[in-house]
Symmetry: C2
Subunit: 323 residues, 2 copies
């Protein structure tokens, strides 16, 4: 049967928000704490109402802590909205919905960042408070900000994503600050580690969640040079994104919104690609790119689905590593 | 009988937090909106969790808007504490209790201050949103911060007042920034106005709530030179403060905690002094200072009490003005 990940081996997972966080949770449930490092995109971080907000980091963190709001798909479970209601009465900006409990995260993070702590340190601190055992790190401690150039105006990512509900047509994306940013040191180190057994690109938006991580100096090269296989799990199923604007963006960026287009986008970075059963007919097209494929049930509805997909991806990685 | 305030006449009230706000509300209920200007102490403002917090301004503002928490004595009615609860779980600083709805005020104020608006502008904006008709202004737009020198350590006012619950012995008080601060321009102007009919020092802590206002360059001189009578309402009744550390501070600052000591503290600034019925025996002592006296029921439990005291104080002022 399939190979297994050994206790001494390390897995790195690159994640954006919701979709990525689901697989990250599956990995965290399956692996020992010390085996897993999750790197979250921070290019959609922003400053709002004076608070430093890290949407992807928080989505992963809340998901790993089991306190995320599964119905809403973002934010915290059992959330209340009294600050936002009061802010609305004061005529304040409420398009970015900050729940009362979620606000505590942003207040604490902002306080610590102002005090001079790095985002990595703050994230580690918050994870400890929330009893998260595995390592969750931002892709960088430096500010990187996705700018969405649309047919109407240039928007920050959250303006595009939340305020404008992804309605404007995307012409191009820019990651301001990416050239000056240094990838998280532990992340760079683990990419060069002999213990590294797999680099998993979670089913997150390739353009705005994964691309910023890959664009940090040293990351792509180290991923290519790593002996560990790089495996992407498709965020596209049957031509649509499970969540978010990935499919719409693909069309606007003049590529078909298909799983093969996702695989082609990652290109020679990939050793393996996990696609959904519903896209099985595209397997030969991806295999023809020289990328190993694994067809799975990738839509994660239950916790069991998340763990099952994590197990399948890890087995696929172990198979590729043993080849 | 007693004289009346004419519609063209203006009243200025100097206020700290809770006690002052009660009389300010009584004045606001009795006077037309355009007749009343309330100047709030800002020396107990502070920056906390990255937010600009103005406790006295907010207490007056919430009281005037009728949304203050009367049981608790501070903050908003119908408040919830979910952000604080979550912040506590994250190991954050929760000694200064910020309610969920109250947080919106601080977020909006802080956002506007960062944008370059003055505290006066922000206060006016918030008052408009809360349908407050009279003018409420900070004593200054510049930062002034009360430092409490205690027998243990030097504390910011809120650290002394809230975190340490006024326990440390006060040795002296310092208003950092007071010499560089400019009193609010409208306030300075109205003190020179011919329309000014009374300057009322509300029943607030003389040392930490009123003294900072009086210490701003130009304020004390203009009050002395004004034709309008300056009337203080005693915050001390029967040797105790209705609320807060005024009486304890008086003892620690080596003065008796009596109404005459309050009158003596304000000294020749006063034309009139309102003391409680329970302190009637002190009236001759105060009259001997050359200060007119008015004995009233000064403890304000109900809204009617607030309005009745406001009316009495205004009648007293009109009597003094007509002399």
């Amino acid at each position: 049967m399939s190979s297994e990940i050994l206790p001494s081996e390390t897995i790195v997972a690159l994640s954006g928000g919701v979709g990525g966080a689901k697989l990250a949770l599956g990995l965290a449930k399956h692996l020992a704490d010390e085996q897993l490092m999750i790197i979250a995109n921070t290019a959609d971080d922003f400053e709002h109402l004076g608070l430093s907000i890290s949407p992807d980091l928080d989505t992963v963190m809340y998901t790993l802590a089991g306190i995320n709001n599964t119905e809403q798909g973002w934010g915290l479970a059992n959330e209340s909205w009294n600050t936002m209601d009061a802010l609305e009465q004061l005529g304040g900006e409420t398009w970015f919905r900050l729940g009362d409990r979620d606000l505590a995260t942003h207040l604490e993070r902002s306080t610590r960042l102002r005090r001079g702590e790095s985002l990595s340190d703050v994230t580690q601190y918050l994870c400890e408070q929330l009893n998260i055992g595995c390592r969750l790190l931002p892709m960088t401690d430096d500010p990187v900000r996705t700018l969405v150039v649309t047919d109407q105006e240039q928007l920050s990512f959250q303006e595009y994503f939340v305020r404008e509900q992804c309605q404007p047509k995307v012409l191009s994306l820019d990651f301001a600050g990416i050239e000056q940013a240094t990838a998280q040191a532990e992340f760079l180190n683990v990419l060069e580690s002999d213990q590294l057994q797999a680099i998993i690109i979670c089913p997150s938006n390739p353009f705005v969640s994964v691309e910023p991580i890959l664009s940090l100096a040293g990351v792509r090269d180290r991923m290519k040079n790593s002996k560990a296989p790089v495996i992407a799990v498709s965020p596209i199923v049957s031509g649509a994104a499970i969540k978010g604007p990935a499919a719409k963006m693909m069309r606007e960026l003049n590529m078909p919104s298909t799983v093969s287009a996702v695989a082609a986008y990652y290109g020679d970075l990939l050793d393996g690609f996990v696609l959904d059963q519903r896209d099985q007919e595209m397997e030969p097209e991806i295999a023809a790119m020289g990328v190993a494929t694994s067809v799975q049930q990738t839509i994660m509805t239950s916790l069991d689905d998340r763990i099952a997909l994590a197990q399948s991806v890890l087995s696929f990685a172990a198979d590729l590593a043993s080849q």
